[in-house]
Protein backbone atom coordinates (compact mmCIF):
# COMPACT_ATOMS: atom_id res chain seq x y z
CA UNK A 1 0.00 0.00 0.00
CA UNK A 2 2.87 2.42 0.75
CA UNK A 3 3.57 4.67 -2.23
CA UNK A 4 6.93 5.77 -0.84
CA UNK A 5 9.30 3.36 0.92
CA UNK A 6 12.52 5.37 0.64
CA UNK A 7 12.55 9.20 0.45
CA UNK A 8 16.09 9.37 -0.97
CA UNK A 9 15.14 7.11 -3.86
CA UNK A 10 11.84 8.93 -4.33
CA UNK A 11 13.26 12.48 -4.42
CA UNK A 12 16.33 11.62 -6.50
CA UNK A 13 14.30 10.05 -9.30
CA UNK A 14 14.48 11.76 -12.69
CA UNK A 15 10.83 12.79 -12.35
CA UNK A 16 9.61 13.07 -8.77
CA UNK A 17 6.12 11.61 -8.41
CA UNK A 18 3.97 14.12 -6.51
CA UNK A 19 1.17 11.89 -5.23
CA UNK A 20 2.49 10.23 -2.07
CA UNK A 21 -0.67 9.08 -0.26
CA UNK A 22 -1.31 5.35 0.24
CA UNK A 23 -2.81 3.73 -2.84
CA UNK A 24 -1.84 6.60 -5.18
CA UNK A 25 -2.86 5.92 -8.76
CA UNK A 26 -5.05 2.93 -7.96
CA UNK A 27 -7.47 3.68 -5.15
CA UNK A 28 -8.86 7.19 -5.83
CA UNK A 29 -12.06 6.21 -7.66
CA UNK A 30 -12.91 3.59 -5.07
CA UNK A 31 -12.38 6.15 -2.30
CA UNK A 32 -14.68 8.64 -4.04
CA UNK A 33 -17.43 6.00 -4.40
CA UNK A 34 -17.04 5.11 -0.72
CA UNK A 35 -17.18 8.79 0.24
CA UNK A 36 -20.37 9.37 -1.77
CA UNK A 37 -22.03 6.31 -0.20
CA UNK A 38 -21.18 7.62 3.28
CA UNK A 39 -22.47 11.10 2.42
CA UNK A 40 -25.82 9.91 0.99
CA UNK A 41 -26.16 7.36 3.79
CA UNK A 42 -25.77 10.10 6.36
CA UNK A 43 -28.72 12.01 4.88
CA UNK A 44 -30.90 8.90 4.87
CA UNK A 45 -30.08 7.93 8.46
CA UNK A 46 -30.35 11.39 9.99
CA UNK A 47 -33.35 12.38 7.86
CA UNK A 48 -35.32 9.35 9.04
CA UNK A 49 -34.41 9.77 12.69
CA UNK A 50 -35.30 13.47 12.58
CA UNK A 51 -38.73 12.72 11.07
CA UNK A 52 -39.47 10.14 13.76
CA UNK A 53 -38.32 12.45 16.53
CA UNK A 54 -40.39 15.38 15.26
CA UNK A 55 -43.50 13.21 14.86
CA UNK A 56 -43.11 11.91 18.42
CA UNK A 57 -42.63 15.41 19.80
CA UNK A 58 -45.62 16.75 17.84
CA UNK A 59 -47.96 14.18 19.41
CA UNK A 60 -47.29 15.61 22.90
CA UNK A 61 -48.88 18.98 22.10
CA UNK A 62 -46.95 21.09 24.60
CA UNK A 63 -47.63 24.78 25.19
CA UNK A 64 -45.41 27.66 24.08
CA UNK A 65 -44.18 28.36 27.61
CA UNK A 66 -43.85 24.78 28.90
CA UNK A 67 -40.12 24.77 28.21
CA UNK A 68 -39.64 27.27 31.03
CA UNK A 69 -40.17 24.54 33.62
CA UNK A 70 -37.18 22.75 32.10
CA UNK A 71 -34.67 25.56 32.41
CA UNK A 72 -31.85 24.26 34.56
CA UNK A 73 -29.99 26.20 37.23
CA UNK A 74 -26.60 24.79 36.35
Amino acid sequence: MATVTNWIDHLSAKEVVGAVYPGAGSSETLLVVLGIVLWIGWHVLTGNSESEKLAKQARKRRGGNDYKSNITDW
Binding site: Y21, G35, W39, H43, G47, L54, D73
Partner: protein, 466 residues
Protein backbone atom coordinates in the same frame (compact mmCIF):
# COMPACT_ATOMS: atom_id res chain seq x y z
CA UNK B 1 10.76 23.54 -7.10
CA UNK B 2 14.43 23.78 -7.90
CA UNK B 3 15.26 27.51 -7.60
CA UNK B 4 14.93 29.44 -4.37
CA UNK B 5 13.00 32.45 -5.71
CA UNK B 6 10.42 30.27 -7.40
CA UNK B 7 10.09 28.22 -4.22
CA UNK B 8 9.63 31.35 -2.09
CA UNK B 9 6.96 32.74 -4.42
CA UNK B 10 5.08 29.44 -4.42
CA UNK B 11 5.31 28.84 -0.70
CA UNK B 12 4.39 32.48 0.05
CA UNK B 13 1.26 32.09 -2.08
CA UNK B 14 0.44 28.78 -0.42
CA UNK B 15 0.82 30.31 3.07
CA UNK B 16 -1.11 33.45 2.06
CA UNK B 17 -4.21 31.46 1.10
CA UNK B 18 -3.84 29.22 4.14
CA UNK B 19 -3.96 32.29 6.42
CA UNK B 20 -7.07 33.59 4.64
CA UNK B 21 -8.78 30.27 5.31
CA UNK B 22 -8.02 30.50 9.02
CA UNK B 23 -9.32 34.09 9.13
CA UNK B 24 -12.44 33.18 7.20
CA UNK B 25 -13.19 30.42 9.70
CA UNK B 26 -14.13 33.29 12.02
CA UNK B 27 -16.99 34.20 9.68
CA UNK B 28 -18.58 30.89 10.51
CA UNK B 29 -17.93 31.25 14.23
CA UNK B 30 -19.58 34.65 13.96
CA UNK B 31 -22.59 33.32 12.05
CA UNK B 32 -23.12 30.60 14.68
CA UNK B 33 -23.01 33.13 17.54
CA UNK B 34 -25.19 35.57 15.67
CA UNK B 35 -27.88 33.02 14.85
CA UNK B 36 -28.00 31.57 18.34
CA UNK B 37 -28.19 35.12 19.72
CA UNK B 38 -31.08 35.91 17.40
CA UNK B 39 -33.04 32.72 18.14
CA UNK B 40 -35.27 32.12 21.14
CA UNK B 41 -34.16 30.06 24.15
CA UNK B 42 -36.25 27.02 23.23
CA UNK B 43 -34.61 26.75 19.78
CA UNK B 44 -30.96 27.53 20.64
CA UNK B 45 -29.33 24.12 20.30
CA UNK B 46 -31.16 23.17 17.14
CA UNK B 47 -30.20 26.52 15.60
CA UNK B 48 -26.55 25.96 16.47
CA UNK B 49 -26.49 22.40 15.15
CA UNK B 50 -28.20 23.36 11.90
CA UNK B 51 -25.56 25.95 11.11
CA UNK B 52 -22.72 23.74 12.31
CA UNK B 53 -23.67 20.76 10.16
CA UNK B 54 -23.43 22.78 6.96
CA UNK B 55 -19.66 22.68 7.49
CA UNK B 56 -19.24 18.95 6.79
CA UNK B 57 -22.08 18.78 4.26
CA UNK B 58 -20.80 21.61 2.08
CA UNK B 59 -17.19 20.49 2.52
CA UNK B 60 -17.67 16.93 1.31
CA UNK B 61 -19.86 17.94 -1.61
CA UNK B 62 -17.43 20.73 -2.48
CA UNK B 63 -14.79 18.01 -2.66
CA UNK B 64 -16.98 15.64 -4.70
CA UNK B 65 -18.28 18.10 -7.31
CA UNK B 66 -18.35 21.79 -6.28
CA UNK B 67 -14.74 22.58 -7.15
CA UNK B 68 -15.05 20.76 -10.45
CA UNK B 69 -18.04 22.94 -11.41
CA UNK B 70 -15.99 26.12 -10.93
CA UNK B 71 -13.35 25.05 -13.42
CA UNK B 72 -15.74 23.38 -15.91
CA UNK B 73 -18.47 26.04 -16.31
CA UNK B 74 -16.86 29.42 -17.24
CA UNK B 75 -18.07 29.08 -20.84
CA UNK B 76 -21.69 28.61 -19.77
CA UNK B 77 -21.40 26.01 -21.38
CA UNK B 78 -22.28 27.15 -24.89
CA UNK B 79 -22.35 30.91 -24.26
CA UNK B 80 -18.80 32.21 -24.89
CA UNK B 81 -15.59 30.45 -25.94
CA UNK B 82 -12.77 29.89 -23.47
CA UNK B 83 -9.58 31.90 -23.97
CA UNK B 84 -7.66 28.73 -23.13
CA UNK B 85 -8.98 26.34 -25.77
CA UNK B 86 -11.35 28.54 -27.84
CA UNK B 87 -14.20 26.10 -27.26
CA UNK B 88 -17.54 26.99 -25.68
CA UNK B 89 -17.95 23.48 -24.27
CA UNK B 90 -17.33 22.55 -20.63
CA UNK B 91 -13.62 22.99 -19.90
CA UNK B 92 -12.58 19.39 -19.31
CA UNK B 93 -9.67 19.08 -21.75
CA UNK B 94 -5.95 18.89 -21.00
CA UNK B 95 -5.44 22.69 -20.57
CA UNK B 96 -3.74 24.06 -17.46
CA UNK B 97 -6.88 25.29 -15.70
CA UNK B 98 -9.15 22.48 -16.82
CA UNK B 99 -11.74 20.93 -14.50
CA UNK B 100 -10.19 17.59 -15.35
CA UNK B 101 -7.54 18.18 -12.66
CA UNK B 102 -10.22 18.85 -10.06
CA UNK B 103 -12.33 15.73 -10.34
CA UNK B 104 -12.64 14.18 -6.89
CA UNK B 105 -10.47 11.24 -7.95
CA UNK B 106 -7.68 13.42 -9.40
CA UNK B 107 -4.22 13.08 -7.90
CA UNK B 108 -4.23 16.88 -7.40
CA UNK B 109 -7.15 16.61 -4.95
CA UNK B 110 -4.80 15.20 -2.31
CA UNK B 111 -1.32 15.65 -0.90
CA UNK B 112 0.84 16.15 -3.95
CA UNK B 113 4.46 17.27 -3.71
CA UNK B 114 4.21 18.92 -7.10
CA UNK B 115 1.20 21.09 -6.24
CA UNK B 116 1.29 23.62 -3.39
CA UNK B 117 -1.75 25.65 -4.41
CA UNK B 118 -4.76 23.46 -5.25
CA UNK B 119 -5.60 22.54 -1.64
CA UNK B 120 -5.42 26.04 -0.19
CA UNK B 121 -7.24 27.58 -3.15
CA UNK B 122 -9.90 24.86 -2.88
CA UNK B 123 -10.25 25.65 0.82
CA UNK B 124 -10.48 29.43 0.26
CA UNK B 125 -13.37 28.88 -2.13
CA UNK B 126 -14.88 26.34 0.25
CA UNK B 127 -15.00 28.98 2.97
CA UNK B 128 -16.88 31.23 0.54
CA UNK B 129 -19.29 28.31 0.09
CA UNK B 130 -19.87 28.00 3.83
CA UNK B 131 -20.60 31.72 3.93
CA UNK B 132 -23.18 31.43 1.14
CA UNK B 133 -24.95 28.59 2.97
CA UNK B 134 -24.70 30.32 6.33
CA UNK B 135 -26.35 33.47 4.96
CA UNK B 136 -29.39 31.36 4.08
CA UNK B 137 -29.29 29.61 7.45
CA UNK B 138 -29.94 32.77 9.47
CA UNK B 139 -33.08 33.79 7.58
CA UNK B 140 -34.92 30.52 8.18
CA UNK B 141 -34.25 29.73 11.84
CA UNK B 142 -36.73 28.17 14.27
CA UNK B 143 -38.97 26.40 11.74
CA UNK B 144 -36.96 24.47 9.13
CA UNK B 145 -35.93 20.81 9.47
CA UNK B 146 -32.22 20.05 9.62
CA UNK B 147 -32.70 17.62 6.72
CA UNK B 148 -34.16 20.32 4.47
CA UNK B 149 -31.52 22.83 5.45
CA UNK B 150 -28.79 20.30 4.66
CA UNK B 151 -30.13 19.87 1.12
CA UNK B 152 -30.52 23.63 0.66
CA UNK B 153 -27.03 24.29 2.03
CA UNK B 154 -25.52 21.86 -0.46
CA UNK B 155 -27.55 23.40 -3.30
CA UNK B 156 -26.38 26.96 -2.63
CA UNK B 157 -22.93 26.10 -1.21
CA UNK B 158 -21.73 23.44 -3.63
CA UNK B 159 -23.81 24.09 -6.73
CA UNK B 160 -25.51 27.41 -7.50
CA UNK B 161 -23.03 29.90 -6.08
CA UNK B 162 -20.19 28.09 -7.79
CA UNK B 163 -21.97 28.24 -11.14
CA UNK B 164 -22.19 32.01 -10.71
CA UNK B 165 -18.54 32.09 -9.68
CA UNK B 166 -17.57 30.22 -12.86
CA UNK B 167 -19.66 32.65 -14.91
CA UNK B 168 -18.86 35.94 -13.19
CA UNK B 169 -15.68 35.47 -11.15
CA UNK B 170 -13.46 33.12 -13.13
CA UNK B 171 -10.96 34.97 -15.35
CA UNK B 172 -12.46 33.08 -18.33
CA UNK B 173 -16.13 33.59 -17.30
CA UNK B 174 -18.69 34.38 -20.01
CA UNK B 175 -20.27 37.18 -17.97
CA UNK B 176 -17.00 39.14 -18.10
CA UNK B 177 -16.78 38.73 -21.85
CA UNK B 178 -20.39 39.39 -22.85
CA UNK B 179 -21.64 41.68 -20.07
CA UNK B 180 -18.43 43.27 -18.78
CA UNK B 181 -19.39 41.95 -15.34
CA UNK B 182 -17.22 43.10 -12.45
CA UNK B 183 -17.61 41.94 -8.87
CA UNK B 184 -14.16 41.93 -7.27
CA UNK B 185 -15.15 41.11 -3.68
CA UNK B 186 -18.43 39.31 -4.34
CA UNK B 187 -21.35 41.74 -3.86
CA UNK B 188 -23.26 39.48 -6.21
CA UNK B 189 -21.26 36.29 -6.52
CA UNK B 190 -21.75 35.46 -2.84
CA UNK B 191 -24.12 37.95 -1.27
CA UNK B 192 -26.81 38.73 -3.85
CA UNK B 193 -27.18 35.07 -4.79
CA UNK B 194 -27.36 33.86 -1.19
CA UNK B 195 -29.85 36.62 -0.31
CA UNK B 196 -31.97 35.76 -3.35
CA UNK B 197 -31.83 32.05 -2.52
CA UNK B 198 -32.90 32.77 1.08
CA UNK B 199 -35.84 34.84 -0.20
CA UNK B 200 -36.92 31.99 -2.50
CA UNK B 201 -36.88 29.55 0.43
CA UNK B 202 -38.71 31.99 2.72
CA UNK B 203 -41.50 32.41 0.16
CA UNK B 204 -42.28 28.70 0.53
CA UNK B 205 -41.33 28.19 4.17
CA UNK B 206 -43.56 30.94 5.59
CA UNK B 207 -43.15 33.03 8.74
CA UNK B 208 -42.56 31.84 12.30
CA UNK B 209 -45.76 31.32 14.29
CA UNK B 210 -46.67 34.64 15.89
CA UNK B 211 -44.58 36.81 13.61
CA UNK B 212 -47.64 38.47 12.10
CA UNK B 213 -50.80 39.51 13.91
CA UNK B 214 -54.21 38.46 12.59
CA UNK B 215 -54.41 41.82 10.83
CA UNK B 216 -51.05 41.15 9.16
CA UNK B 217 -48.97 43.57 11.24
CA UNK B 218 -45.41 42.27 11.76
CA UNK B 219 -44.19 41.74 15.31
CA UNK B 220 -40.61 41.96 16.49
CA UNK B 221 -39.09 38.67 17.69
CA UNK B 222 -35.80 39.12 19.48
CA UNK B 223 -32.85 39.09 19.30
CA UNK B 224 -32.83 37.23 22.59
CA UNK B 225 -29.15 37.79 23.30
CA UNK B 226 -27.88 41.08 21.84
CA UNK B 227 -24.37 40.51 23.21
CA UNK B 228 -23.97 37.22 21.37
CA UNK B 229 -25.23 38.95 18.23
CA UNK B 230 -22.72 41.77 18.78
CA UNK B 231 -19.73 39.49 19.20
CA UNK B 232 -20.93 37.36 16.29
CA UNK B 233 -21.08 40.31 13.94
CA UNK B 234 -17.66 41.56 15.07
CA UNK B 235 -16.29 38.12 14.26
CA UNK B 236 -17.93 38.24 10.84
CA UNK B 237 -16.24 41.62 10.26
CA UNK B 238 -12.94 40.05 11.29
CA UNK B 239 -13.36 37.08 9.01
CA UNK B 240 -14.25 39.44 6.19
CA UNK B 241 -10.61 40.63 6.16
CA UNK B 242 -9.64 37.12 5.22
CA UNK B 243 -12.40 37.04 2.63
CA UNK B 244 -11.04 40.15 0.93
CA UNK B 245 -7.48 38.83 0.96
CA UNK B 246 -8.63 35.48 -0.40
CA UNK B 247 -10.23 37.21 -3.39
CA UNK B 248 -6.78 38.47 -4.46
CA UNK B 249 -3.82 36.76 -6.07
CA UNK B 250 -0.95 37.93 -3.86
CA UNK B 251 1.93 38.02 -6.34
CA UNK B 252 1.77 37.79 -10.12
CA UNK B 253 3.78 38.99 -13.13
CA UNK B 254 1.20 40.55 -15.44
CA UNK B 255 3.64 41.36 -18.26
CA UNK B 256 3.92 37.89 -19.78
CA UNK B 257 0.34 37.06 -18.72
CA UNK B 258 -1.06 39.86 -20.90
CA UNK B 259 1.43 39.12 -23.70
CA UNK B 260 3.28 42.44 -23.25
CA UNK B 261 6.64 41.81 -24.85
CA UNK B 262 9.60 42.56 -22.57
CA UNK B 263 7.40 43.97 -19.78
CA UNK B 264 7.70 42.67 -16.25
CA UNK B 265 5.08 43.94 -13.79
CA UNK B 266 4.86 42.16 -10.47
CA UNK B 267 1.72 43.03 -8.50
CA UNK B 268 -1.14 41.69 -6.47
CA UNK B 269 -4.25 41.21 -8.59
CA UNK B 270 -7.93 40.74 -7.97
CA UNK B 271 -9.71 37.50 -8.93
CA UNK B 272 -9.91 38.70 -12.56
CA UNK B 273 -6.11 38.99 -12.75
CA UNK B 274 -6.23 42.80 -13.04
CA UNK B 275 -3.90 44.83 -10.82
CA UNK B 276 -4.86 46.08 -7.36
CA UNK B 277 -3.14 46.32 -3.99
CA UNK B 278 -3.90 44.83 -0.60
CA UNK B 279 -3.14 48.27 0.79
CA UNK B 280 -5.73 49.97 -1.42
CA UNK B 281 -8.51 47.53 -0.64
CA UNK B 282 -7.80 48.00 3.06
CA UNK B 283 -8.74 51.69 2.69
CA UNK B 284 -11.95 50.73 0.97
CA UNK B 285 -12.91 47.90 3.29
CA UNK B 286 -12.73 50.17 6.32
CA UNK B 287 -14.37 53.15 4.68
CA UNK B 288 -17.31 51.12 3.35
CA UNK B 289 -17.70 49.47 6.77
CA UNK B 290 -17.77 52.94 8.31
CA UNK B 291 -20.24 54.23 5.75
CA UNK B 292 -22.52 51.30 6.52
CA UNK B 293 -22.30 51.83 10.29
CA UNK B 294 -22.94 55.58 10.00
CA UNK B 295 -25.97 55.11 7.74
CA UNK B 296 -27.29 52.18 9.79
CA UNK B 297 -27.09 54.07 13.07
CA UNK B 298 -28.95 56.98 11.48
CA UNK B 299 -31.70 55.10 9.68
CA UNK B 300 -32.33 52.53 12.44
CA UNK B 301 -32.27 55.28 15.07
CA UNK B 302 -29.44 53.68 17.01
CA UNK B 303 -30.86 50.15 17.03
CA UNK B 304 -27.78 47.97 17.69
CA UNK B 305 -28.98 44.94 15.68
CA UNK B 306 -29.44 46.98 12.51
CA UNK B 307 -26.40 49.19 13.10
CA UNK B 308 -24.08 46.19 13.25
CA UNK B 309 -25.77 44.52 10.29
CA UNK B 310 -25.47 47.78 8.37
CA UNK B 311 -21.69 47.78 8.79
CA UNK B 312 -21.70 44.46 7.01
CA UNK B 313 -24.18 45.69 4.40
CA UNK B 314 -21.94 48.70 3.72
CA UNK B 315 -18.96 46.48 2.92
CA UNK B 316 -21.13 44.15 0.85
CA UNK B 317 -22.55 46.99 -1.23
CA UNK B 318 -19.15 48.48 -2.05
CA UNK B 319 -17.45 45.12 -2.57
CA UNK B 320 -18.13 44.83 -6.32
CA UNK B 321 -15.79 47.73 -7.07
CA UNK B 322 -13.66 47.99 -3.95
CA UNK B 323 -10.58 47.08 -5.99
CA UNK B 324 -10.84 50.42 -7.82
CA UNK B 325 -13.02 52.88 -5.85
CA UNK B 326 -11.74 55.90 -3.97
CA UNK B 327 -12.27 55.33 -0.23
CA UNK B 328 -14.88 58.11 -0.02
CA UNK B 329 -16.73 56.60 -2.97
CA UNK B 330 -16.66 53.30 -1.08
CA UNK B 331 -18.06 55.01 2.02
CA UNK B 332 -20.90 56.73 0.14
CA UNK B 333 -21.79 53.56 -1.77
CA UNK B 334 -21.89 51.66 1.54
CA UNK B 335 -24.29 54.27 2.93
CA UNK B 336 -26.60 54.12 -0.10
CA UNK B 337 -26.72 50.32 0.06
CA UNK B 338 -27.70 50.34 3.73
CA UNK B 339 -30.54 52.83 3.30
CA UNK B 340 -32.02 50.89 0.38
CA UNK B 341 -31.59 47.49 2.07
CA UNK B 342 -33.18 48.69 5.33
CA UNK B 343 -36.18 50.28 3.62
CA UNK B 344 -36.69 47.30 1.32
CA UNK B 345 -36.54 44.84 4.23
CA UNK B 346 -39.51 46.43 6.00
CA UNK B 347 -41.45 47.03 2.81
CA UNK B 348 -41.11 43.38 1.73
CA UNK B 349 -41.92 42.19 5.25
CA UNK B 350 -45.17 44.15 5.37
CA UNK B 351 -46.23 43.71 1.77
CA UNK B 352 -45.44 40.01 1.26
CA UNK B 353 -45.37 38.73 4.88
CA UNK B 354 -41.80 37.52 4.52
CA UNK B 355 -40.21 36.65 7.88
CA UNK B 356 -36.46 37.03 7.43
CA UNK B 357 -35.37 36.38 11.02
CA UNK B 358 -31.96 38.08 10.80
CA UNK B 359 -32.38 40.47 7.87
CA UNK B 360 -30.13 38.28 5.70
CA UNK B 361 -32.04 38.95 2.49
CA UNK B 362 -31.64 42.69 3.05
CA UNK B 363 -28.03 42.78 4.28
CA UNK B 364 -26.70 40.32 1.69
CA UNK B 365 -29.27 40.20 -1.09
CA UNK B 366 -30.51 43.77 -1.52
CA UNK B 367 -27.21 45.44 -0.56
CA UNK B 368 -25.32 43.09 -2.91
CA UNK B 369 -27.74 43.76 -5.77
CA UNK B 370 -27.56 47.53 -5.31
CA UNK B 371 -23.76 47.34 -5.08
CA UNK B 372 -23.53 45.65 -8.47
CA UNK B 373 -25.75 48.25 -10.12
CA UNK B 374 -23.86 51.19 -8.61
CA UNK B 375 -20.55 49.63 -9.68
CA UNK B 376 -21.76 49.68 -13.30
CA UNK B 377 -22.10 53.45 -13.18
CA UNK B 378 -19.06 54.37 -11.08
CA UNK B 379 -16.66 52.04 -12.95
CA UNK B 380 -18.30 52.52 -16.35
CA UNK B 381 -15.63 52.10 -19.05
CA UNK B 382 -13.00 50.23 -17.01
CA UNK B 383 -11.91 46.96 -18.63
CA UNK B 384 -13.44 43.93 -16.96
CA UNK B 385 -10.24 42.00 -17.71
CA UNK B 386 -6.64 42.58 -18.65
CA UNK B 387 -6.99 40.30 -21.65
CA UNK B 388 -8.20 41.63 -25.02
CA UNK B 389 -10.95 44.18 -24.48
CA UNK B 390 -13.81 44.35 -26.98
CA UNK B 391 -17.48 45.25 -27.03
CA UNK B 392 -20.60 44.01 -25.24
CA UNK B 393 -22.20 40.85 -26.69
CA UNK B 394 -18.97 40.07 -28.61
CA UNK B 395 -18.24 36.94 -26.60
CA UNK B 396 -14.73 36.28 -27.84
CA UNK B 397 -13.23 39.40 -26.19
CA UNK B 398 -13.98 41.08 -22.85
CA UNK B 399 -16.57 43.88 -22.65
CA UNK B 400 -15.85 46.92 -20.50
CA UNK B 401 -17.69 47.43 -17.23
CA UNK B 402 -21.04 49.16 -17.90
CA UNK B 403 -24.38 49.83 -16.15
CA UNK B 404 -26.52 47.49 -18.28
CA UNK B 405 -24.11 44.57 -17.93
CA UNK B 406 -23.96 45.04 -14.15
CA UNK B 407 -27.75 45.26 -13.89
CA UNK B 408 -28.20 42.07 -15.91
CA UNK B 409 -25.47 40.47 -13.80
CA UNK B 410 -27.36 41.43 -10.63
CA UNK B 411 -30.54 39.83 -12.02
CA UNK B 412 -28.62 36.65 -12.87
CA UNK B 413 -27.15 36.49 -9.36
CA UNK B 414 -30.20 37.41 -7.28
CA UNK B 415 -33.04 35.94 -9.34
CA UNK B 416 -31.82 33.36 -11.86
CA UNK B 417 -29.26 31.52 -9.70
CA UNK B 418 -30.60 32.59 -6.30
CA UNK B 419 -34.32 33.12 -5.88
CA UNK B 420 -35.59 30.66 -8.48
CA UNK B 421 -33.52 27.61 -7.38
CA UNK B 422 -34.24 28.38 -3.71
CA UNK B 423 -37.97 28.56 -4.40
CA UNK B 424 -38.06 25.40 -6.55
CA UNK B 425 -36.01 23.24 -4.15
CA UNK B 426 -38.04 24.45 -1.17
CA UNK B 427 -41.26 23.63 -3.06
CA UNK B 428 -40.03 20.10 -3.73
CA UNK B 429 -39.02 19.57 -0.11
CA UNK B 430 -42.35 20.98 1.02
CA UNK B 431 -44.26 18.64 -1.32
CA UNK B 432 -42.58 15.70 0.43
CA UNK B 433 -43.41 17.15 3.86
CA UNK B 434 -39.72 17.57 4.64
CA UNK B 435 -39.34 21.35 4.71
CA UNK B 436 -41.00 22.64 7.85
CA UNK B 437 -41.15 21.22 11.37
CA UNK B 438 -44.61 20.35 12.78
CA UNK B 439 -46.54 23.27 14.23
CA UNK B 440 -46.68 21.64 17.69
CA UNK B 441 -42.88 21.32 17.80
CA UNK B 442 -42.38 24.92 16.73
CA UNK B 443 -44.66 26.10 19.54
CA UNK B 444 -43.07 23.86 22.19
CA UNK B 445 -39.52 24.52 21.00
CA UNK B 446 -37.11 22.38 19.03
CA UNK B 447 -34.96 21.90 22.12
CA UNK B 448 -37.83 20.85 24.41
CA UNK B 449 -36.79 17.23 24.86
CA UNK B 450 -33.13 18.07 25.29
CA UNK B 451 -34.06 20.61 27.95
CA UNK B 452 -36.36 18.09 29.64
CA UNK B 453 -33.54 15.54 29.77
CA UNK B 454 -31.21 18.16 31.23
CA UNK B 455 -33.78 19.02 33.90
CA UNK B 456 -34.15 15.36 34.85
CA UNK B 457 -30.38 15.02 35.05
CA UNK B 458 -30.17 18.13 37.22
CA UNK B 459 -32.82 16.80 39.59
CA UNK B 460 -31.00 13.49 39.85
CA UNK B 461 -27.66 15.16 40.56
CA UNK B 462 -29.02 17.66 43.07
CA UNK B 463 -30.86 14.96 45.04
CA UNK B 464 -27.90 12.61 45.21
CA UNK B 465 -25.81 12.46 48.37
CA UNK B 466 -22.73 10.70 47.10
Amino acid sequence: MTDQLGALTTIFTEFYYWVTVVLMFLIHVGFCMYEVGASRYKHHQHTLMKNTMLIPLVTVTWFFFGWWIYWAFPTGPGIAPSIMNESAALITDESTFSAKWYLANSEFMAINLGDHISGVFWAAFLLFSWTAASIVSGAIIERITTFAFGILAIAIGSCFWVIDAAWGWHFDGWMLKILGYHDAYASGVIHAIAGGFALGVLMVLGPRIGKFSSSGEPRNIGPRNPWLVTVGLFLIYTGFWGFYAACNIPIFDLGPEYGMEGVTYWTATNIYVTPTTLSGITFNFLMSLSGGLLAGYWIAKGDPFWTYSSGLAGVICASAGNDLYHPIQAMIIGMIGVVIAYKLHYWVERKFKIDDAVGAVAVHGYAGFVGLVICGFVLNGYPSSGYSVGAMWDGSTYASINPLGQFLGAIIMFVVLGLIPGYVIAKILSAFGKLRIPREVEIAGLDYEMMEDDKEAEKAVSSSTR
